[in-house]
């Protein structure tokens, strides 16, 4: 199942804990979150909503079958059980993304819920929507490169109704014809623009039926004029009427009304800070670096101390901002009654698990701190020393 990487509230080996009791407790406490059960290289998950088991996976099993499998491995000594707490809304999100694992509860509540939550979920799912927007932009662009002069492009040939505008005098129109015609001795402008116009009309009609009406209106507006005049007139207008347009407009429009009118959001400080933060080409100064180091140290330390049986933790973070922002994290922890674990399983294995968990936690904290730039994690070296 798709589960978030967060730090567990309870970590225990199966033999230290009564699994059935745990399930009962979770039900009683209306637990929201999930448990992870690790045995060898197999992982199982049970997702809880208000204490109820709503989804499960284990190895290749899902749903109730998975729950049964999990219960069966619980008897083994080296099975690690971790309990993770979540708020209710992330649980709904997880329900939504883990549909194949949902334990049918005999009613359709969850399905309905899923549908309801869909819109929320989209937001949660794309914390990095910035990047996605970019890639879709690129896609769009390459498309438009291929279909050069297709739909969107063609709109530029289509004259727009100019109902309120004074029509240029005959003389003006002819002058313009002259001007634009200058460089094309082979074709007369009429021919060329006629072709353009009819092409674009056809394309527009195909692609965007709602525009057909507009075109028809245009044609009637200009029924007495040749297409070339129309096109030229538009070009001419675009330039000449700039001043006219700006004087026609109400001079005293205030900005906030305009923003509202066009649904443009005022850019807020934090957005800008985030954008700048993701830019590593020198916008982070040395003071910032120190601040980031300190924050990271505290955050990592705090979540490591959340692991049971950790007695103390020292976290040191060094950032290097000379080229790309990169970092070095050294974590030294003291661990309680190591012998207790090693009684059951190999000591090295136990330590390895813990090390992995600590690295995980540190990485999560780093990623959380650089939300807009999670790839930063690749520039971080994390060392863990366990005493």
């Amino acid at each position: 199942m798709e589960m978030p990487i967060i730090s567990p509230s309870i970590v225990s080996y199966a033999d230290e804990l009564n699994f059935n009791q745990l399930l009962e407790d979770l039900l009683k406490n209306k637990h929201n979150g999930f448990i992870r059960v690790t045995s060898g290289s197999y992982e199982g998950y049970i997702l809880f909503k208000n204490g109820n088991q709503v989804a499960a996976s284990y190895d290749k099993y899902s749903k109730l079958e998975a729950v049964e499998s999990i219960k069966s491995i619980i008897k083994e000594n080296d099975t690690l059980i971790e309990v993770f707490n979540l708020k209710e809304s992330p649980v709904d999100y997880l329900i939504n993304v883990n549909k194949p694992y949902l334990i049918e509860s005999g009613n359709d509540v969850y399905d309905v819920l899923n549908e309801l939550k869909k819109s929320d979920h989209d937001e949660i799912e794309n914390p990095n929507s910035h990047a996605e927007t970019k890639s879709s932009r690129k896609k769009l662009e390459s498309e438009s490169e291929i279909t050069e002069e297709s739909n969107t492009e063609t709109t530029q040939y289509i004259p727009k109704p100019l109902n309120n505008e004074p029509k240029p005098t005959q003389k003006q129109t002819i002058q313009q014809t002259e001007a634009s015609n200058e460089d094309k001795p082979k074709f007369t402008l009429e021919n060329e623009s006629k072709i353009e116009l009819s092409n674009s009309e056809v394309k527009l009609k195909q692609s965007n039926p709602s525009n057909t009406e507009k075109i028809l209106v245009d044609d009637s507006t200009y029924s007495n004029e040749s297409p070339s005049e129309k096109e030229i007139q538009i070009q001419k207008d675009a330039v000449e009427d700039i001043e006219k347009k700006s004087t026609i407009e109400d001079e005293s429009i205030d900005r906030s009304t305009l923003l509202k009118k066009y649904g443009i959001k005022e850019i807020n400080e934090t957005d800008v800070e985030n954008i700048l933060y993701s830019y590593k080409g020198g916008s982070i100064d040395d003071n910032d670096v120190e601040k980031i180091e300190l924050t990271l140290m505290n955050k990592i330390k705090k979540s490591i101390l959340g692991i049971p049986k950790i007695m103390s933790a020292e976290v040191l973070v060094f950032l290097d901002n000379t080229h790309e922002l990169s970092g070095n994290t050294n974590i030294i922890i003291e661990h309680e009654s190591k012998g207790f674990f090693s009684r059951m399983i190999g000591e090295s294995r136990d330590t390895e698990n813990l090390r992995r968990q600590i690295i995980n936690i540190a990485q999560i904290e780093i990623k959380k701190s650089f939300r807009k730039y999670p790839e930063i994690i690749n520039n971080f070296e994390i060392n863990v020393e366990i005493n």
Binding site: S144, E153, A179, S180, I234, I242, V272, L276, G281
Partner: protein
């Protein structure tokens, strides 16, 4: 002292490259030693517009450390110097943006004006291009998404200490459904320094790999760009008017019904 001007927008496809290329040629024709740099390594097309594709050494090579910046400077129409980006998606990851700064500091030694065609968006490559400049020309179309992105770009550029020279409205279509110049100025709080009409000749010129200001110097679009270039350097510009004589000739032709 070299002026380093970034041409940026936020939204993609609004005409940054078109304007950079033509503005570069225009400035060169006024005698300014001008260099245009395509900082959009991922979507390079400045060299296509100027008919200079297929150059062997590109900015891409410089940024990947495989060439010196001097090797990547070519001469384009009107004497404008061009540093092509080089179209290559592969190996983009290993590009170090701080090399851009190094490259730039070498480039500016021999030029009056360096125009940087910034990539769209506000990712680090775009920010690097903007931050490398002292001034920025903000390009937008008169549509909401473009203006909204321009606003964001403006604010970020301000934070980066880059002065906004002004807004260029591109693809003005004289359409009531779009924002007016006044509205755009009010929203962005930046003066509009040029309005460039929507002009089918733009893509045609690009397809031929010719700069519009060279190919169609008499068009309103070219005049708008030439005027913008003149304003940037405090020159006077007389829009190229059509030849009077031939107008009359054509007028007569028209009256004689030969149309």
């Amino acid at each position: 002292m070299t002026r380093v001007i970034a041409v940026a927008s936020g939204k993609g496809g609004v005409g940054k490259t078109t304007i950079t290329a033509n503005l570069g040629v225009a400035l060169s024709t006024y005698g300014e030693e001008t260099l245009v740099l395509d900082a959009d390594v991922a979507m390079a097309n400045l060299e296509l517009i100027l008919g200079m594709e297929g150059k062997s050494v590109t900015l891409h090579d410089v940024l990947s450390g495989d060439a010196e910046i001097e090797e990547a400077v070519y001469e384009g129409p009107g004497g404008v110097k061009v540093v092509p980006a080089g179209i290559s998606l592969e190996g983009l990851r290993k590009i170090k943006l701080d090399r851009l700064e190094n490259a730039l500091s070498k480039l500016v030694q021999n030029v009056d004006i360096l125009l940087i065609d910034a990539p769209a968006g506000l990712e680090k490559d775009a920010l690097a291009a903007i931050a490398a400049a002292q001034e920025m020309i903000l390009v937008t179309t008169p549509e909401v998404p473009s203006i909204s992105d321009a606003l964001k770009t403006k604010i970020v550029a301000n934070k980066l200490g880059v002065e906004i020279t002004g807004v260029v409205i591109n693809r003005e279509m004289h359409d009531k459904t779009f924002l007016t110049i006044n509205e755009i100025e009010t929203i962005l709080e930046v003066p509009v320094i040029a309005v460039i009409p929507d002009d089918p000749e733009v893509s045609r010129a690009a397809a031929f790999g010719e700069a519009l200001v060279v190919r169609n110097p008499k068009s309103p679009t070219s005049n708008a760009i030439m005027q913008l270039a003149a304003d940037l350097i405090g020159e006077n510009y007389q829009p190229i008017e059509p030849d009077k004589k031939s107008i009359i000739a054509k007028l007569v032709e028209g009256l004689l019904g030969r149309r």
